[in-house]
């Protein structure tokens, strides 16, 4: 029907009933349906992958949000903690955590006796099911409350990672056959303590608020401080990359004369996007730390480096969306006597906003998840600082970042860290989604067709 020869004469080539599709239309419709299916398929693939990844992350990571604790009554023996009995803080501080171990051992022994638990273990081995952070916890308490020395206080100590793993089912009696750190007898003890209600698994807020802990204490490690580090870095990135990126794009797209110089800048910017992120770390080390003498391991430097890294993404997407605003809009504004600047800021920019926000979302997501450049400016490793007390210290005192923390945990030997790494990823994603939500809502407000 469609392919009949070209006649100068009469009938339209589209004659025939509408209800019967001619062969060409059928063919085209099939192409159309295929095209649409490709689209659905593409989205489905994306969604499926997201679901698989999120499922993986969540199933592996939820374990980190609960933790095994042991409740003990510890007698703060004056004879051990303050031999002179004068409550001089300097002297109390002289007692190291090693000196607190006996107190805990005693407390444990007493508890076991009290509960009538029979175990072949020596008291030292009994207490070994506690986390190594117990001593530090005790010492911190005593230093904060020297007047409590001599009293008996109830403490909630973390159990060590093997015990915690046992409670979560990760560690079994079979799996510890060759394990030096824990024995079957200790697990028996754990079972009995659990039955007695002394040892319990509860929600672990410290994982969300706490700081990193060393390789020996996975149970004590938390994301809190690195979260703050990431937050400050993101603030820096947002405060710098977005305005600078948008400003640069506006200049290049709307004001710059078209010549080789702007061509160079243009190519340059796209090229910066392809620079491996670690190179930005090299740059940051050279410029911000060695040259400008900013402090090492500081979120400010991290933020600056990530800003440089994010800029190209924002600039490229902003330029693309500025380009896609029809010229008639600019003409209309100029025609009523708006300056170019006004035309851009009043009309073009709002219309380009969705693309700018998309660039920001993607750029920030990238910045939020990036570790490599942080490696060179000292934000990856063991950085167990305290939560900062002011904005300035948040920016300047050493801190890590969420992805760096996760990356470090994933490398550590104790499998308990593995669980925490995934748990950390959950927090990272929640952080990301929160950040994106704002942008997505804004973007929806700006979206329109014309």
């Amino acid at each position: 029907m469609t392919d009949i020869s070209h006649q100068s004469a009469p009938q339209s080539r589209h004659a025939g009933s509408l209800l019967q599709k001619d062969s060409r239309t059928v063919r085209r419709n099939r192409a159309e349906a295929r095209f649409k299916i490709y689209g659905i398929f593409a989205i489905a693939v994306g969604m499926l992958m997201l679901a698989v990844l999120v499922y993986n992350i969540v199933t592996r990571g939820v374990g980190a949000y609960s933790q095994t604790f042991i409740t003990l009554d510890v007698e703060l023996l004056e004879s051990k903690l303050d031999k002179n009995g004068n409550r001089n803080l300097e002297e109390i501080k002289k007692v190291t955590t090693f000196g607190y171990a006996p107190l805990i051992k005693n407390a444990f022994e007493k508890k076991v006796e009290e509960l009538g638990i029979k175990t072949p273990l020596k008291p030292k081995d009994q207490a070994a099911i506690l986390s190594k952070s117990a001593e530090a916890q005790l010492r911190d308490f005593v230093i904060a409350n020297p007047d409590k020395i001599g009293e008996t206080i109830e403490f909630r100590f973390l159990a060590n990672s093997r015990v915690d793993g046992y409670m979560k089912g990760r560690v079994t009696r079979e799996s510890i056959a060759n394990d030096k750190s824990i024995s079957v007898e200790q697990l028996d003890l754990v079972d009995q303590l659990h039955k007695a209600g002394v040892l319990n698994k509860t929600f672990n807020i410290d994982f969300i608020t706490g700081a990193d802990a060393s390789d020996q204490r996975p149970e004590a490690a938390g994301m809190g401080v690195s979260m703050i580090g990431s937050l400050f870095m993101m603030l820096v990135v947002l405060a710098l990359a977005l305005p600078i990126g948008v400003a640069a794009s506006i200049y290049l797209e709307e004001f710059a004369p078209r010549n080789w110089l702007t061509d160079i800048i243009e190519v340059n910017i796209s090229n910066l996007a392809a620079v491996p992120s670690i190179v930005f770390g090299i740059l940051g080390l050279a410029v911000f730390i060695n040259y400008m003498h900013l402090p090492m391991s500081a979120p400010l430097v991290g933020g600056l480096v990530l800003t440089l890294m994010t800029l190209p993404t924002i600039i490229i997407s902003t330029r693309a969306s500025l380009k896609s605003v029809p010229p008639s809009i600019r003409d209309a504004a100029l025609g009523v006597g708006a300056s170019k600047m006004q035309a851009v800021f009043h009309h073009v920019l709002p219309l380009a906003a969705p693309g700018i926000l998309t660039g920001t979302i993607i750029g920030l997501a990238q910045a939020l998840g990036e570790t490599a450049p942080l490696l060179l400016i000292g934000m990856v490793g063991f950085i167990a600082s305290n939560a900062p007390d002011s904005i300035a210290s948040g920016l300047l005192s050493p801190n890590s970042a969420m992805p760096a923390q996760i990356y470090e945990w994933a490398k550590r030997a104790d499998p308990a860290f593995y669980e925490r790494a995934w748990g950390g990823i959950i927090i990272l994603l929640v952080f990301l989604v929160t950040m994106n939500t704002v942008a997505v809502i804004l973007r929806r407000r700006f979206e329109r067709r014309w």
Binding site: E32, K36, A42, I43, M49, F255, V275, L283, V440
Partner: protein, 490 residues
Amino acid sequence: MPTYWLVLSLLVLAAVGYVLGRNRALQTAGGDTRALHSLPNYYGLNVALTSLVPALGVLIVWMLVQPVFVDSRVSTLIPDSAVPEDATLDLVMSDVRRVADGLDEAVEQGALTPSEARQLDAEATDIRARLGEVGVALGSDVRPEVLRAAQRYRQLTSVGKTAMSIVVAVLALGGLAWSYSQTHKDFRARNVVEKGVLALLVVAASLAILTTIGIVFSMFFETINFFGLHSWKDFFFGSTWAPNFRGDSELSILPLLWGTLYISFVALLVSVPIGLFAAIYLSEYANGATRSFAKPLLEILAGIPTIVYGLFALLTVGPMLADVFAKGGLLGVEWMTGATSVVTAGVVMGIMLIPFVSSLSDDIINAVPQSMRDGSLGLGATQSETVRQVVLPAALPGIVGAILLAASRAIGETMIVVMGAGAIAKFSLNPLESMTTITTRIVSQLTGDTDFASPETLVAFALGLTLFVLTLGLNVLALYIVRKYREQYE
């Protein structure tokens, strides 16, 4: 924090200036905005900016220069003899600064009165202990000359601060007064403000150039060192990448380059069609609700840490491919020897890159005017024909930008490559073999245990710089293509 206060008062002053300028402009125009050259806001902004920007600029420069100046003045107080033989003046100076900070802290906490702090005597008091009480830790006991220097340091700093405050205040007030006096109904306030804004825009754009210069410089010298130690012929034209700890390694970029291109190509092969089709579907077919949740969800893919993708490649995708292509696999072929391969890494990376292509393209496609679509549909084109032949060409520059961004990301990715593609550099056409990329080698060599002055480490810089030049070439090409095929609507 007096500097905070200074900045704050500058801001307040600017705000006041804004109001003043605005009012004065209105006043000269007799309250009639129509008589003004520009909108009243511009007069206000002009005054605000003129009082704020120079003052702020001077403030920043002053804060950068003053420590250097004070340091140089104070360091003359430290006799050479006071510098321990194994230390440098620099270190003594940081001690001085620390003591000075400590004194400040002590004064602030009330442990010392200001005059005490000025008159403290190192011989008479145990300064380390006194400062320890207020929580300032010092590395060693304070020597008298250090204390003297520290006191001088405090004095100079406080004088400097006062001077700075005065200068900045004068500048701000002067700027305010001057611009205020300039404010007049015929004053071209808008032009002035816009010029200022334009200058800011130019500064922002040139930052990209600065970054590039910085990158090139931070790698250039080490690259030179590398070529001093290693033959450039081997680097550019060799065929083997085999660093070892004994020196005399073969370090050729070619196998790495091949791996980079191959893996990125596979990644784009996955992400571009999926991303583009997703974008098309979202902007052309999907209803508002689908779009408003599918797009942000896809964007999460860009934010999942790459380590997760790496593990996904290693634990899920790799073994899955191996089940099919490896020995004893479904196909009964032996094309794959382990879980790592170009395809493993490429596919997983492709998934990560989907939102780079989809979200940006979606925005651009969405920005194509509806009248273009109407024109095509009105001729009896199907929606897919419209998309392919009218919408996509019109959105081409933006889409190319998005793809370039994805390609850039693919080239720059490490974790997925390390875990998914392996660490062996080789030339092979088989996409089921392990390969590696330039970027991962840069990271490896920089973060490894080799001698940092050896070619095995320095090669990272040469790789980085070469990659930089190569991608520059690719970008020039892309620019050329976009220029050639760009279709401007309206």
